[in-house]
Symmetry: C2
Amino acid sequence: MLILTPKDEVDESSETHELELGIVGHGPAGLTAALYASRAAISVACIGKDYGGAMGLALEIENYPGFENISGIDLTDKMRAQAEKFGTKIVYGEISAIEKAEGNKFLIKSDMGNYLVKALILATGGRHKELDVPGEKDFIGRGVSYCATCDAPFFKEKTVVVAGSGDAAATGTLALSDVGAKKIYWISRSDYLKCERIYIDREEQRDNIEILFNKQISEIKGTNTVEEILFSDGTSLKADGIFAEIGSLPNNELAIALGVELEEDLIKTDDDCKTNIPGIFAAGDVTSKIKNPLSRQITTSVGLATIAAISAAEYLQARKTMKED
Amino acid sequence: MLILTPKDEVDESSETHELELGIVGHGPAGLTAALYASRAAISVACIGKDYGGAMGLALEIENYPGFENISGIDLTDKMRAQAEKFGTKIVYGEISAIEKAEGNKFLIKSDMGNYLVKALILATGGRHKELDVPGEKDFIGRGVSYCATCDAPFFKEKTVVVAGSGDAAATGTLALSDVGAKKIYWISRSDYLKCERIYIDREEQRDNIEILFNKQISEIKGTNTVEEILFSDGTSLKADGIFAEIGSLPNNELAIALGVELEEDLIKTDDDCKTNIPGIFAAGDVTSKIKNPLSRQITTSVGLATIAAISAAEYLQARKTMKED
């Protein structure tokens, strides 16, 4: 569900555009950093290919304060327009490389033009691991979910399957139980669970949770929404939804190529969202600032992005004073 | 500008209400924590007396992603309704004390009833130091501002006075210069500036900044908006606005009384928004998590509140398992 918007004005020339700040990523972190930076009169290009990042995939968002219920695309539209209002140049393009350039600058190469910038904010987010079975993509937001914290309340009085064996699956199962799901099947591919023992103690006290081992999903079936989960052993379960809580992968490839220091695959930043490289900042789900994976939310992304933008503004101001620019 | 809403249903009985979580504060941190916790099926009372906290005082907000322009009251209304939708009990009351109670609980005593809770989130925010001169309160949001990061862009091509001598005043002055204020008078009460030297170097490169020493404001005058700033030496300046960047004070009194550990007057928390006392969490401007005072924004408050609510939910879940409750 990568949405490219051909209607957007883009630049396909080979010209190099010079700007003060380059932001990579179009999710809530990237767009918020763009809003704060451009509102502080910094020239900004916000470059990415996935409209709204992970947020763009959400059909219903109920937990971003201020909006009772909004789709990820609609919220992205609003955040994008707000950043553009203050002068952010939004660029839909695939970045092939970011290179260090002369004069302590960075050159962002994309299929929609090259951008030479004095500072970078990496807000490349992460991607949920997928089950990779037939039916999965068809029912995203229609019963298939990757975030129990976000979507559990939509499954009150429903029957759901939770796939995964780690802490995220465990807490997702409990969250579903708490909000009043009728029945939760927690399935593990193997004959054990990898989550902390304390979660299993909690599960055992719930009447509506059943744990099944050695179950590998082979297909997700339904009409408009999910109706049935098929397993490779030939069995199946009737269910209104499935939560794939099998982990996530940070989009850290550009950071690695730049030599940015990582911490367990995530970009390591200090409290001011600075990385180990002067002029490079990071925000959102790609950073190690959010210790608890459950806390990778739109709210925490916009918070970190604010800090990253304010730090980048101070860095750019200091460069001016030093007559570097 | 403390807004009490007499239309709200309140309980003036001496009865003690038992709930799982008590949240103190009605700003963006308190209301976001309430949203996340009540959406996770936790019973929540959110208690405070200032509608919207510091956010409630803002006439125009342009930097909360999703809303191009909204008043602090309107945004508070939305956040409040959203938390209430999931069951949060909103209580307008003045808290006289919070005491530790039997069974690892906390008793919140207010003039709108007492609340016995198993966990607490302190989101009591901070208050900007005021100039304490005639006219100041009359023109809040009409030329008088306490946050340059928030309000500087409204003063493009305007003449403004910045009061204060520290880093906040220095960066506020630069922010106003960056967004294109016509003329900025930076005034210090004494004959020196307390800010970092680097900021003064930057100021000196700007044509539109003038620094004045030994100026003490005696009155703010205007009709609908600020027009003139009077000084105690009998001089005055025509100006469209005044930024009072003279510091802020965290609302830490309840935390101190509970024995919560502080760090430079702010509540000390770990990355999961836990304080030193089990069952007490903190979020927003009252915490030490935001190192840069410029980053005390609605965005960072909703981010920390999310983390605090998720941590509180895990704490409450663990209590259930331990059969403590």
